[in-house]
Amino acid sequence: MMAFRPKLELVHSVVKPLASAPLDFDSLFERYAGHVARVAARMLGRDDADVDDVVQEVFFTALPRLGRIHSEEAARPWLMTVTVRTVHRVLRRRKWRRLLLGDSSVADVPATGVTAEQRALLARIYRALDEIDPKSRIAWILRYVEGERLEEVADACRCSLATAKRRIAAAQKFLMEVLGDG
């Protein structure tokens, strides 16, 4: 114990100034771009230009705010919030496009290592998700696909815990009705 204390003090004195230093954009992008792209692809059910647009928008929004984020760990929930907001805009735009232009085409779901049957099932799930409110869809994906805790879902969606629960439950109920026993 006597030998351990000085080591703790030394680590503390080095880490503290690093933690308060502004984030480097390159390292942030390198660390989280893939994660943002994966979350966006799962929420959108596609891996196309929309995913690139979401990643671009999220990091373009983050760029001027880097000075206010003091660690890469703290950046993750913040980036998730921006991702949710950006994906919501894309989903809403897509919904309007379906309504106005009748665009009902379903892109290939970018799942790897799945059978043809599972791929067809995945397409059915996303077709069903297209029918529900984008906010509920996002909350459901965050909870059951990304495995986020309810508090984290509420934070990312900028809503109360009760609202997050209600959205997740609504999406779940609809999916169960549509897909039945799966």
Partner: protein, 361 residues
Amino acid sequence: MDEGPLFALPGRIQPQWTERRAAQVRAAIERRVRRRRAARWAMATSSLILAGYLGFVLLARPNPAELAIRKPASAEISRTPSTPAEPTATPLTADTELVVDPQGAGRAFVLRRGSARFVVTHDERRPFRVRVGPLVVEDLGTIFSVARLSEHELNVAVEEGHVAVLCEDSRAEIGRGQQRTFTCPAAEEHARDTPASAPAPTTPKVVDRQAAPAWRMLAERGRYREAYDSLRGASEPPVRDETHELLLAADTARLSGHSGEAVPYLRRVLVRHGNDPRAHLAAFTLGRVLLDELARPAEAAEAFERARAPRGPLAEDALAREIEAWARAGDAQRAHGMALEYQRSYPQGRRMRAVAKFGGL
């Protein structure tokens, strides 16, 4: 809920996020950053330019010294509800010659010709003055216009406040909505070439000649058609019994295409102001109107005879035109006799050819 295999499937989604794709997204972000930076620069630059322009417009004040060479803005007087801190002067006619009086410390002008409008804030310590020959118009807090009518005569129209018109010790004031013509007759007398033995002029006085009628202002600016319309539309007798005004009325009628209406004005000059030096000019003009435009040669001959003052500037021309008039009136004998007289008096006369033709020489 049950996290069965059905709802675990979306978790199998793995986008093909490659380095190349990440580089493309990064390049797009950098392009957007550059565009945003350029837009901010453009916005900042245009804001600075706009702020600079507004500052220049708001802070720039007219320099009185520049007013003398400023082009006239408009002949119309625009009403200004309040007077600015610095006096402003606007020439009202194209031929206006308005210069800064070097002794006036920026608050005095000399109106050499034409007319101008002045907007002045009264300052008792530094009165604003406009000098027109011997006359001086001094503000008492006002907006007013001054028109120079002759060497010793001006017309003042006051829009707001009061002005004082000064001529040496003499002074007259007029107020808002008034328009008056002033002269300085004693100064006029003094200005003429008088013999050294002539008695000293009396003290100059400001003489208020009442408001100048619109037709006269227009005629003096050469706008004869408008002057004629104004003259015809006047409710009261608009032409005063003065040589200058009668001649001006005759010119207005004649030059606006109403020659017949010029005759009474010219005859009136001859009858009422026969001793005026300008009576010969009136007679000659009457002869020309009657002969050339009204085809009344006999009356024209009489008018030309009247214009023939001995050794006068019009004597030779009047005699030649009289010969022509008598010849056109059918009195060849009289024309011939006068032609001989012309030949004797002006053997090298300019009108010899016409005289020979009409006089039968």
